[in-house]
């Protein structure tokens, strides 16, 4: 098995070669917070938050109208949605090696429900969350992350699965 890809190095080299001289500064922290599970997973309410730009197929055209709303911002998707009614507009993935045709490969909504049925999880929160790329870590920290927290609290979420693409 070969070693994993160093994306930070790859990105730096790739954009340097394209003439971008200032390398992107990836977020980095010395301290990492930690919350242990407070109760068994079988009693926990779970949600997903993702930057995979998942959207309802029925709203495919609507979402493009307000371009600026796609920069940062948190949106919600009803969790009782069928995976086949969702799609992703995300373009920042390895399009040569794979595809985003199966929503569950990056937004595991069907798996959530299956594990509730099995009794491994307590319940699925009424909403799942999408977060658009903000182009600003400051914005994510000060606006979008607190917004996800607020919505999780309103829906009594205990645990969250986070999927970047």
């Amino acid at each position: 098995m070969s070693s994993y890809v160093r994306y930070i190095d790859k990105t730096r080299e790739y954009y340097l070669a394209q003439g971008y001289e200032t390398p992107y500064r990836w977020a980095h922290f010395d301290e990492v917070p930690f919350t242990p599970l407070k109760k068994p997973l079988s009693e926990c309410c779970i949600t997903i938050a993702s930057t995979s730009d998942v959207a309802l197929k029925s709203e495919q055209n609507k979402s493009d109208e307000n371009g600026h709303k796609l920069i940062g911002n948190v949106y919600e998707i009803p969790s009782d949605v069928k995976a086949t009614d969702l799609f992703s507009k995300q373009e920042h993935y390895d399009r040569h090696a794979t595809n985003l045709d199966d929503v569950n490969a990056y937004f595991p909504v069907t798996r959530l429900h299956e594990f509730v049925v099995r009794g491994r999880l307590g319940s699925v929160a009424p909403y799942l969350y999408g977060v658009y790329t903000a182009y600003s870590q400051k914005r994510t920290l000060e606006i979008d992350a607190p917004e996800v927290l607020k919505r999780c609290r309103e829906n009594n979420v205990d645990v969250a699965v986070l999927t970047p693409v």
């Binding site: 930070i8 595809n99 490969a105 959530l112 920290l141 927290l149 969250a160 699965v161 986070l162 970047p164």
Partner: protein, 122 residues
Amino acid sequence: MSLVARHLEANGIATVVMACAKDIVEYCGVPRLLFTDFPLGNPCGEPFNVEQQRKIFSMALDLLESARAPRTTVQTPFIWPHGDKWKELFMSEAQPFLDEKATENWQRAKEEYRKLKKEGKV
């Protein structure tokens, strides 16, 4: 996404990040990372491989329970079925990351962001 994980965790909600870019997530620092060594886009398993996706999701739940401290990374045992050439080719001249349209979209979004920032709207 790592930034959101950190914020939720600092405020009492336990999280697990499922990701393919191990170095980026670990450099940021998150409580729990389930790493699958697949191309960017499929952190929860191969498209339409439901059995594998179930195993990966189950490991994410196990990690929620088993982690005792932050920066706990677990790697799933799965190997990309189409070889590992993609690792070399990603972001290479032969395989540019974004196609023309996506590059345009990205630049337009960046411009839009700069504009809104100037106007104090973001």
